[in-house]
């Protein structure tokens, strides 16, 4: 605090080197922003954040202007408000104006700004945008007509994910966001992570809807409709129902899913335990037999597609394990179908994921047996919340229930999959047991916890020194892969998640998910781990039973057939 500034006639302090926006925020003041993205360099493109600075002829953008000692700033003068209002009016002038029919009705930043700035008449009417919907992707639908060209999707795709599937195309009033040679997202480098949806202020980006089909299946008496939910779902729903971020709602979630008509409710954390059994065994196998190292996790479908596109020389490093969603899918349509005597064709298998890439993963050719998909439909957290409302379920009045046995019982190792570092920690716990025959003295692996984009640790397992790295955000993965390619040998096992912080910040999560919410969800997962009795996947009694009765042993013949997969080099631009 070494600068003194005057804001709206109040004397405040600010840090040298900060922007005006930082300084205002630190002092508890705010100005509206649209193109601004925390942690990334400012572009000053939308001009929503303009303020008046004494001695300056023009209004300045608070997000990109460094704060100076003695600056006299007006954040809400008549001129400033009028200017912001005009910007929003201009944005609305060519907007489709179909709020009532829009996915983002109620969670739209443009709508909020129009409301906050009290826009009550159509002062400027321009030619409406006309663009084709891009429905080519299995995961994401783009509607350029609703786009206000803030550029947040372009930046998150390039700077956080290192994918650059989309960019500004054309010039002036004809500018829009599109893919390489207008081919559509399915032919682009898009990895379906959905981070673009999370940063989009309007309804220009949304997930591909699976609710309609699921609704039909729920009312089809021929079908047994089963649902699984990812580890992060139960801690990511609270905000939707006005509760504190991170609150674990697993009990009411089970109850709500049953009220909607799902016949069986399973927990993907169970198959996360199964993933660990296979993956930790694979790691042990690779380490002890001189297999390809470092081994890299393959639970994240965004990362898997990214690797197939950009890091295909590392494909052999990827674990051959399917993701927990797909393992559960395969087990439901084999083991579960067998024990319940239901034909796999009559099982409709739904998963609830914090993720849009899971919709793509579910449709991959390798993820089916004899022409029957292992998973039939994927709901994002947002879609689940929408369905809960659609079915008129009052969360507050529900009594907690347990998930169905046996695929609904988990260890806490499977649960922490939801946060960056969780897969790693769970795998280490089991690998330790597999190698040494003994449990770890302390299960916590502190070095891999936290929301940083990159974490590294050295772990002693018996006589082995195992180097591990955890990255989230694919840009961080790219940097690490480059280091490996350039000869780094001290890392043996890597966890990669496409979304910064892992699934708790996934592209399918509730709109408005911020740093605090992500942190609360992470702490909630670790709190569950702390309190749970069974902290390792290999001690989950139902996992033990599944191997005894059905699978045989990890990496065995049946496992290989049902739980493992392969990858392919992809040529896209």
């Amino acid at each position: 605090m070494n600068l003194t500034i005057e804001v709206n006639n109040n004397i405040l302090t600010a840090n040298q080197g900060d922007t005006i926006l930082d300084a205002l925020n630190q002092n508890g003041l705010s100005v509206p922003t649209l193109c601004h993205m925390k942690g990334l360099l400012p572009t000053g493109a939308c001009r929503m954040c303009v303020v008046e600075v004494e001695g300056r002829k023009n209004l300045v953008t608070a997000c990109s202007e460094p704060v100076l000692d003695g600056m006299k700033i007006k954040t809400h003068s008549g001129r400033v408000i009028e200017s912001r209002k005009t910007i929003v009016e201009l944005l609305l002038s060519n907007h489709p104006d179909d709020c009532l029919y829009c996915e983002r009705n109620g969670s739209c930043e443009l709508q909020d700004l129009a409301e906050d700035l009290h826009i009550r008449e159509r002062r400027i009417s321009g030619q409406k945008n006309k663009y084709k919907l891009d429905v080519s992707s299995a995961s994401i639908v783009r509607d350029p007509a609703k786009c206000i060209l803030c550029g947040r999707c372009v930046r998150v795709c390039e700077e956080i994910e290192g994918v650059s599937a989309i960019d500004f195309v054309g010039r002036g009033s004809k500018t829009f966001i599109d893919t390489f040679f207008n081919h559509g997202l399915n032919l682009s480098t898009c990895v379906n992570c959905g981070q673009c949806i999370m940063v989009c202020p309007t309804g220009a980006l949304k997930e591909k809807d699976h609710i309609c089909e699921i609704k039909d299946m729920l009312s089809d008496p021929e079908k047994t409709v089963v649902v699984q939910y990812a580890p992060s779902i139960s801690v990511s729903l609270a905000e939707e129902f006005g509760l504190a971020s991170g609150k674990n709602m697993v009990g009411v979630l089970n109850a709500a899913l049953r009220r909607m008509g799902f016949n069986f409710v399973f927990d993907t954390s169970f198959s996360a335990d199964l993933t660990i059994m296979e993956e930790a065994s694979e790691l042990v196998h690779r380490v002890t037999t001189g297999g390809t190292l470092p081994m890299i996790t393959s639970c994240c479908p965004g990362w898997v597609k990214y690797a197939e596109e950009f890091q295909h020389d590392m494909i052999d490093n990827l674990s051959t394990c399917k993701s927990p969603q797909q393992m559960m899918g395969a087990i439901i349509k084999s083991y579960f179908a067998e024990t319940e005597s239901i034909s796999p064709e009559n099982i409709y298998s739904v998963s609830v994921m914090p993720c849009t890439a899971k919709k793509f993963e579910q449709q991959r050719e390798e993820m089916s047996h004899n022409g029957i998909s292992d998973v039939d439909a994927v709901l994002t957290t947002r879609e689940l919340a929408r369905m809960i409302r659609l079915y008129g379920i009052d969360i507050a009045k529900l009594e907690p229930e347990l998930a169905d046995s046996p695929l609904g019982t988990r260890s806490s190792a499977g649960k922490i999959f939801g946060t960056s570092g969780g897969v790693m920690e769970a795998a280490i716990r089991s690998a330790h047991y597999f190698i040494t025959g003994k449990e770890m003295v302390k299960f916590q692996v502190k070095g891999v916890r936290g929301l940083e984009g990159r974490k590294e640790a050295k772990i002693k397992i018996g006589d082995l020194d195992v180097g591990v790295a955890v990255v989230s955000g694919l840009k961080n993965a790219e940097i690490l892969m480059e280091e490996i390619r350039n000869g780094r040998k001290d890392i043996h096992f890597i966890e990669v998640m496409a979304c910064p912080g892992g699934c708790i910040n996934g592209g399918g999560q509730l709109i408005g998910t911020d740093d605090e919410a992500v942190k609360a969800r992470m702490l909630s997962l670790y709190d569950i781990d702390e309190k749970d009795a069974i902290k390792v996947s290999h001690k989950n009694p139902y996992i033990v039973e599944l191997y005894d009765k059905f699978l045989g042993k990890p990496l065995g013949h049946k496992s290989h057939h049902l739980l493992h997969t392969h990858y392919q080099k992809r040529f896209v631009n």
């Binding site: 960019d167 390489f180 040679f181 631009n573």
Partner: protein, 154 residues
Amino acid sequence: MKTTVQEILDQYQDSGRDSLIPILQNVQEKLGFLSEESVIEVSKFLKMPASKIFGVATFYNQFRFNQPGKYHVQVCRGTACHVLGSATVLEEVEKHLKVKAGQTTKDKLFSLEVVACIGACGLAPVISINGEFHAKVSTDTIKGIFDDYKNREE
């Protein structure tokens, strides 16, 4: 055998992203347009996402993304031509050729481009086909002009 694009890129061995525009200009000069394959080659060479290069290239009017036809049609949309109805002329040409500006007809005979001013304001509205100027074009004369070129092919 090196591709045309590789030969061009050879001249830019030590260059970075700042050479993007000159490279694209060279490629267009040699190929007549920017093909998908050529942009991908440039993208690999400069280690720049292909979508980004496409974005940059579409910003500039000078870059084309379709193979030019045997006859390259330029419709002038400069001020004088505009005043004398070039918007209608363009519309009619698009209708007649069944392509939009920037595209090439299926038979690869005609490609259509909109230009700002070709400096023949006295002849407005004017179109140029492979450098041959056609003066005072109207919706009535367009069919005849193109039929003339089609007849040359038979």
